[in-house]
């Protein structure tokens, strides 16, 4: 997946949850990505964030710590 496409997809999710109260929005973004993105897509996203996260919505950046499955 190209970086542009990944950023677009992540931002689309953030845009939906932006209307919700902040904590709910961050959790909403994280849960959605956790539930629907395959691990390699999540790894690509995390790598992009580690590299600065250019182009990503703030909500996505805030959700970064919650992207791995809950134990």
């Amino acid at each position: 997946m190209t970086q542009d496409r990944m950023v677009t997809m992540a931002n689309q999710i953030a845009t939906f949850f932006r209307s919700y109260p902040h904590e709910e929005a961050v959790e909403g973004v994280a849960t959605h990505i956790r539930q629907f993105w395959d691990p390699r897509m999540r790894r690509t996203l995390l790598a992009h964030i580690e590299a600065g996260g250019a182009g990503l919505e703030a909500l996505v950046l805030e959700a970064v710590g919650r992207l791995q499955p809950k134990a």
Partner: protein, 947 residues
């Protein structure tokens, strides 16, 4: 097996709270109030002679054959038009009646060809039957008088003929066209002796006839008869099965001669269609034995090699060894599979099982990804389950019908007929669609409001409608308080009441007059039972899931959930798209919509399947293709889908397929995707296997085998063989055992079995201890998720924008006579109605580009370019163009983009910025496609194959 002859009660059996008892021929019978004397007689086993009556139609009283005597009444009233009354004493057989009936028959036969022995209806002719019943032995009037015996046959329709010489002018065909189909294409022209059935003064093919077959079915003689019967003769046995076209899931009798289908006749007891059909299910089944069917397994090293026919063992072995090699080299997650919405529940369940067990990952997806995946997501969030709320019958109780982004008369014609019947009875209609679809104005039906919005603005429109409901005090507060999560409702209500969601504020976005939105909203909220029916015009957007939730919000806010006549109802595209979703075809969930990370669910599957299962979601179809291009996804098993034609941005799809090292296709034809495949496993049509389909109303119906699979095995057996070759044993001897496993693992299917389906005819899930006979209407007392959940649905414009380079918006869809990628319907006579994809364009846009009707035009987007013929029509609004994707050589999806729904990745087929210009040549892609059509589909002759 014998030919199934359904009882024809002559007139419909009425549904009434009260019953009436009467005496017919000395026996007392009790029937619902409003039933005719004819139907009452039929219910007690007495067949009163009839010709113009049939129970699919309202009584007409024209043939005068069903006369009876009723004590205390003068004359001999027609039993079809006489309702029963308490205490009525009826005689159906007297000397006087016999004389009258014989006289009537003499008149009919005096103007009818005496060619019974060579007539195609011989053995299935009601006129012939009635002649026998009344004991006709001669015709006093002779045959020399004026007659219609030289009337010319109309053979223009590819599927049935019309022979006016045999017509008795009973009007059954005319009434069937009106009452059952709702098209009003037929009439009786002239009067008296000159009166004749007429398709509007032209031939059948040139008329408004939609070839649904209702007239043919209603005809009591050989006047209207299937050409297949003319050619083959009468069938000798029949098997009830389920249509393999759209999501209506019509029940049919496959009428057979041995293993040869003679005709498909809609089954009256089928609850999805109640005896009606459309041109596809009724007539377009010839593809099943088309010469293009591939019946031998094939393999090749490279996609540029010719295919080599081989044995099942070699083909399965090759697929398995390649998948194993790829996983060893690139990792366990480097392969995946796609299940088919055209295959049965059992086959689909097996493919996802194979992927989760034998492949050891969750890289399974299905074509619902590109159609109704937002329905699954949106309705699960709001209501708690990923399915429509009603049965089709519910529409008979609707007072207001809101159709959004659906074109039922083309896409779901049999349900559309049911809907139109209700509309003719007086239900009100709101259509929200960028195009002026037929339903907006069709005979005796006219939409109260056509909200002709701009593509991509659905959410703004639904928000504006909800805004009116909330701000004008139209919320059903009692329903919301009792049934919904109040905290979320209040948050939503505050959001939706904001001025930016008002019809006036949204008018500039949607292009719909605020006054119309307000009026439509008031009608929906206050008009009685209001039902929403929607299609891919809702889901195939970047905000598809948001729109589904927006509709659910509206239905909850107005209390239009949980009883007859209401609901949120997806009109599913393919025959088993609901079932494919139910069966766990999505990469994140098991059957019954349970997430793979749920430990308890996974434990249950692991225990029964004997393999550890991944708790991580797998790749969706677009993700698979993206990862293939990136080099991390290398192998794909596709059962019954053609992503190279159906999925968006064809070049990207092909790039993904070309990047894979092993693509295995299981299909009945060498489809577009097979051009990029290495192993071809010949599939079986719906006529060749046992199983079940689940339609848009969650109705599980049996598919029954009527012929031996052309390739020797059913699809489910191929999956079992592949699984075994991969080292995971599956042990089934019949699909019923697969359904038993589905029931054991899926709470909503717990009560489903083949025996139970046979007993009930069909079953709507959930079917379990709480609902042993199934569930026609969902969320009756409570939502599946408990309290209904209002979701905030902020309108977000799509990123696909028009501009100077691409100033028009393209939206795509399908038409009545063709189906999906056309692989089936293009191989039938249906091509007479739609031989190529055309571009619908408004006269204004056409004129400003110098485009005339029929011109070849180039259609270009930032994804690609194709050429096709223009159809200049005012169905379109200025600025919006439309085409279909039924023909591979057109390549409509060369133009569509990779933009997709935010939640599900469902492609945004409905909004592509394009430009149109005149051209005199095919596009570069189309020229290349012509070459590939030859180069990538070659099959080596047997001699070469033997080397």
């Amino acid at each position: 097996m014998a030919l199934i002859k359904e009882l024809d009660t002559g007139t419909p059996i009425r549904i009434a709270d009260r019953t009436v008892s009467l005496v017919i021929d000395g026996r007392t019978v009790t029937v619902p109030e409003g039933t005719s004397v004819m139907a009452a007689g039929s219910m007690m086993g007495t067949q009163i002679p009839k010709l113009c009556a049939t129970d699919m139609l309202e009584p007409f009283g024209s043939c005068r054959l069903c006369l009876v005597e009723i004590e205390g009444r003068k004359g001999t009233p027609a039993s079809c038009t006489t309702p029963v009354e308490a205490g009525m004493v009826v005689r159906t057989q007297t000397d006087r009646l016999a004389k009258l009936r014989k006289g009537v028959m003499e008149l009919y036969i005096s103007d009818h060809p005496l060619d019974c022995l060579t007539c195609a209806a011989n053995g299935d002719c009601e006129l012939q039957d009635m002649a026998g019943v009344v004991g006709l032995r001669d015709v006093r009037y002779g045959y020399e008088g004026a007659n219609h015996l030289d009337a010319e046959k109309d053979l223009s329709n590819p599927y049935f003929s019309f022979d006016p010489a045999k017509c008795i002018v009973c009007s059954r065909c005319v009434r069937a066209c009106e009452e059952v189909q709702g098209t009003f294409a037929l009439t009786i022209s002239a009067r008296g002796f000159e009166s004749a059935v007429s398709p509007g003064g032209t031939d059948f093919l040139g008329s408004e006839c939609v070839s649904c077959g209702a007239c043919v079915q209603a005809c009591p003689t050989a006047t209207l008869i299937e050409k297949s019967v003319v050619e083959a003769g009468q069938p000798e046995h029949s098997v009830v099965t389920t249509c393999a076209y759209c999501g209506v899931g019509c029940s049919f009798k496959a009428e057979m001669q041995g293993e040869k289908v003679v005709r498909m006749v809609p089954f009256k007891e089928g609850k999805a269609n109640e005896g009606h059909s459309c041109v596809k299910g009724r007539f377009a089944w010839g593809y099943a034995t088309h010469k293009d069917r591939i019946t031998k397994p094939m393999v090749r090293e490279k996609i540029t090699d010719p295919w080599r026919e081989t044995t099942w063992d070699e083909a399965i072995g090759r697929a398995a060894s390649e998948f194993k090699r790829i996983q060893a080299q690139y990792g366990v997650d480097s392969i995946g599979g796609i299940t088919s919405s055209r295959c049965t529940n059992e086959e689909t369940f097996l493919v996802q099982k194979l992927i989760r067990t034998a492949f050891g990952n969750n890289n399974v997806d299905t074509c619902a990804r590109v159609c109704h995946s937002p329905t699954g997501y949106g309705l699960k969030q709001t209501f708690g389950t990923s399915a429509g709320t009603q049965d089709f019958k519910s529409v008979e109780k609707s007072d207001v019908i809101l159709v959004i982004g659906a074109n039922p008369t083309d896409g779901h014609p049999v349900f559309a007929s049911r809907m139109k019947r209700r509309l003719r009875e007086g239900a009100r209609l709101i259509v929200a669609d960028p195009r002026r679809i037929d339903l907006v104005k069709t005979p005796h039906v006219e939409a109260d409001y056509h909200l002709q919005l701009l593509p991509g603005t659905n959410v703004a429109l639904i928000n504006a409608i909800a805004h009116v409901v909330v701000t004008e005090g139209l919320v059903n507060e009692a329903f919301v308080r009792e049934r919904c999560d109040l905290a979320h409702f209040e948050v939503w209500a505050r959001f939706i009441a904001e001025e930016r969601n008002s019809p006036e504020a949204c008018q500039s976005l949607t292009g719909v007059l605020a006054a119309d939105v307000r009026a439509a909203a008031r009608l929906y909220a206050t008009g009685g039972n209001s039902a929403i029916y929607y299609g891919l015009g809702v889901t195939e957007h970047s905000q598809g899931s948001t729109m589904v939730m927006g509709m659910a919000n509206l239905a909850m806010a107005t209390g239009n959930i949980g009883h007859d006549g209401v609901g949120v109802n997806p009109l599913r595209g393919q025959n088993n798209v609901q079932g494919a979703c139910d069966m766990g075809s999505f990469p994140h969930e098991f059957s019954g919509y349970r997430h793979v990370s749920d430990d308890a669910t996974r434990d249950m599957f692991e225990h029964l399947w004997g393999r550890p299962l991944s708790r991580e979601p797998g790749l969706r179809i677009p993700n698979m293709l993206d990862e293939a291009v990136d080099g991390t996804f290398k192998g794909l098993y596709i059962q019954g889908e053609d992503i190279a034609q159906s999925d968006p941005n064809t070049q990207h799809v092909v790039a993904g397929l070309e990047a894979m090292e092993c693509v295995v296709i299981q299909d009945i034809f060498l489809n577009e995707t097979a051009k990029y495949a290495h192993v071809f496993l010949p599939g079986s049509s719906f006529l060749e296997k046992d199983g079940t389909f689940t339609n848009a109303e969650r109705r599980i119906s049996r598919v029954r085998k009527v012929m031996t699979p052309l390739a020797g095995v059913a699809d489910w057996e191929v999956t079992v063989a592949l699984s075994r070759a991969l080292g995971y044993e599956m042990n089934y001897t019949h699909p019923s055992q697969i359904m038993d496993e589905i029931a054991a693992l899926t709470p909503t299917f717990a009560g489903v079995s083949y025996d139970r389906i046979d007993e009930l005819g069909s079953i709507q899930w959930p079917c379990n201890e709480k609902a042993p006979a199934g569930t026609p209407i969902m969320h009756v007392d409570r939502f599946v998720r408990g309290k209904g959940q209002f979701m905030i649905t902020e309108f977000v414009p799509t990123q696909e924008r028009t501009g100077p380079r691409f100033p028009l918006i393209l939206t795509t869809g399908r038409i009545l006579s063709q189906y999906n990628v056309g692989a089936q319907t293009r191989r039938t006579e249906n091509v007479v109605w739609h031989g190529e994809d055309v571009l619908e364009i408004h006269p204004f846009d056409a004129e400003s580009r110098g485009v005339r009707d029929g011109d070849l035009v180039a259609l270009a987007s930032r994804s690609g370019e194709i050429s096709l013929r223009a159809l200049v029509t005012e169905r379109m609004q200025p600025g919006v163009v439309y085409t279909t994707f039924h023909h591979a050589e057109t390549g409509a999806n060369v133009v569509t983009t990779e933009y997709s729904d935010w939640a599900t990745n469902c492609p945004e087929y409905k909004v592509t910025a394009v430009e149109v210009r005149r051209t005199n040549h095919l596009s570069e892609w189309q020229e290349r496609h012509r070459v590939d059509e030859h180069d990538l589909t070659r099959i080596a002759p047997p001699a070469e194959a033997a080397e």
